[in-house]
């Protein structure tokens, strides 16, 4: 079991195929769970509705019906669009999600790839989706798409910074960029000398966690920050001209990225796949670990979507000034405090 998941077998191509299949499973299950649990059900209950109820018990198979519907639709390309780029864009967005899923650790030996600079790679890869969105906005030959794409680019660049700076605090405290190392540091850490439950960084890096969640919300273009797809102003932004299969790809990418970012937040701040009082190298963690990570991922997802279904949309200039004037200074102060405390203790 352990050696199967740790990928110390097979040649390059076998490992690559395994990674692609593994991240595909993670993305499809993650996106599906998030859509059904949060978009269909939690949102409905928050508005005292029931949501989809017809397909399957309590509408659990609704997503299958939705995907079937999208696959049947015509794949339209506008006449004046740059057809090749227009068709390519959703794949670029989805690719960044796929690559993100690969670096996620699920257990002591259950990972697809264990890089020394895992966090660095994850944050770098998450920016690739901006390119896809910009391409989609530009290639659609539609002013709404273009405005949406530019807004998305501006927003994602603005919120990439606080996200990275929030993670820097974690990295300083853990002393490593390796995601497995960060999990281990949280498991064996101490909070000012007390090591009862280790040190999930959400306790000592609470500011970082909050900034990370807000930045995640903006990276995902979820509602308080959904200027790029603001449907009441610019139709659906960069997705305006997409239909059928390609719209479905954008849709999957949106929610899969939400799932992957939740898993990343759970790994960085909630202790990842580890649970207190259970030895890190215990072989049983290879089975329990993924379940623990998914549980924590759902907790973070609940927070993200709770905010999404509660708050109205920011104005474009407020959105930018919030990132540059508030989040970035606060995360810089957080880094400074973390450095001082790291040296002091």
């Amino acid at each position: 079991m352990a050696s199967v998941l740790a990928l110390d077998w097979g040649n390059y191509w076998q490992q690559s195929i395994f990674r692609v299949l593994g991240s595909a499973v993670f993305i499809i299950l993650g996106a599906g769970t998030f859509v059904i649990a949060f978009l269909f059900k939690m949102m409905s209950y928050m508005q005292s509705r029931l949501g989809p109820m017809e397909a399957g018990p309590h509408g659990t198979l609704q997503l299958v019906a939705e995907v079937g519907k999208f696959l049947q639709k015509e794949d339209l390309v506008p006449e004046r669009a740059d057809a090749r780029l227009f068709k390519l864009a959703p794949y670029v967005v989805l690719a960044s999600t796929f690559l993100l899923a690969v670096v996620m650790p699920f257990g002591p030996d259950a990972y697809f790839v264990n890089l020394d600079t895992g966090v660095f790679l994850a944050l770098g890869l998450s920016s690739i989706s901006v390119i896809g969105i910009l391409v989609a906005g530009w290639a659609s030959a539609n002013k709404y798409s273009l405005i949406g794409g530019l807004r998305a680019a501006g927003q994602l660049i603005a919120y990439e910074l606080p996200m990275v700076l929030a993670v820097v605090g974690v990295v300083i405290q853990a002393g490593t960029l390796n995601l497995q190392g960060i999990v281990a540091a949280q498991h064996s850490g101490q909070i000012f000398g007390w090591d009862g439950i280790g040190n999930p960084f959400v306790l000592t890096q609470l500011v970082g966690f909050v900034v990370f969640l807000i930045a995640t919300q903006a990276e995902l273009a979820q509602t308080p920050f959904d200027m790029p797809i603001a449907e009441s102003e610019i139709v659906t932004g960069y997705m305006t001209e997409y239909s059928g299969m390609r719209f479905l790809l954008f849709f999957i990418a949106e929610f899969a990225t939400a799932a992957v970012f939740s898993a990343l937040a759970a790994t960085l701040f909630l202790g990842g796949w580890a649970i207190p009082f259970v030895d890190l190298d215990d072989n049983v963690m290879n089975v329990v670990g993924p379940l623990v990570l998914v549980t924590k991922m759902m907790i973070v997802g609940t927070l993200i979507f709770w905010a999404r279904f509660t708050f109205p949309r920011f104005r474009e200039d407020q959105l930018q000034s919030f990132a540059w004037k508030f989040l970035i200074p606060i995360s810089l102060v957080n880094i400074l405090a973390t450095m001082v405390l790291k040296v002091a203790f």
């Binding site: 209950y45 029931l50 309590h58």
Partner: protein, 185 residues
């Protein structure tokens, strides 16, 4: 310009409201069964086709058009004024007995066919307005959906059945000289 008040407490208030409604919907039961999720009880939504409609429409609602066959003179005004031509009328001339003994036999028009295609009807009510002989009336009944499109074509008998559901006209406000119209029963 006055500085806007701090928005942080309002943010948490909003979060509290949405989570409160979520918990109300998810766990409506009280006592020991509080932890049993029962969203179908908690939600405001009524699963309408499975349960009876939560409220009946107002008496003046435009649900379905009823036909009083005896009043129809096959003048075709409704059919001609229909914006999407969803009323089909056929009729013939026939003899009726004289009104008073010894009088002349009258010629009247009788309906052979009076169909309204509710798949086309857009519920504008022009036919009801235009009818000079009080043959068409609005009824608030609305539960006549069909699995097949063709079954939405209501014939003369079906339209006649709706007459029972037509409510009386509302009385005018006090001081009005106009006579209240009566629904022919």
């Amino acid at each position: 310009m006055p500085r806007p008040a701090l928005k942080i407490p309002g943010l948490f208030k909003g979060l509290k409201i949405t989570m409160g409604i979520f918990l109300q919907t998810m766990f409506p039961k009280r006592g020991i069964r509080t932890l049993m999720p029962a969203p179908t009880l908690g939600a405001v939504t009524v699963q309408y086709p499975y349960k009876s409609a939560p409220e009946v429409p107002a008496a003046r609602a435009r649900g379905v058009i009823a036909l009083k066959e005896e009043n129809c003179t096959v003048c075709m005004l409704c059919s001609r004024s229909c914006p999407d031509w969803c009323i089909y009328i056929e009729g013939h001339k026939t003899k009726a007995p004289p009104r008073r003994p010894g009088g002349k036999e009258r010629t009247v028009s009788a309906l052979d066919r009076f169909d309204i295609d509710y798949a086309l009807c857009m519920y504008c009510g022009i036919c009801v307005e235009v009818c000079p002989f009080d043959a068409l009336f609005w009824s608030p009944e609305f539960e006549y959906s069909e699995p097949k499109l063709a079954d939405l074509l209501h014939d003369m008998d079906r339209l006649g059945e709706w007459m029972e559901t037509v409510p009386d006209f509302e009385t005018y406000e006090a001081g009005s000289d106009a006579k209240v119209r009566k629904v022919p029963r």
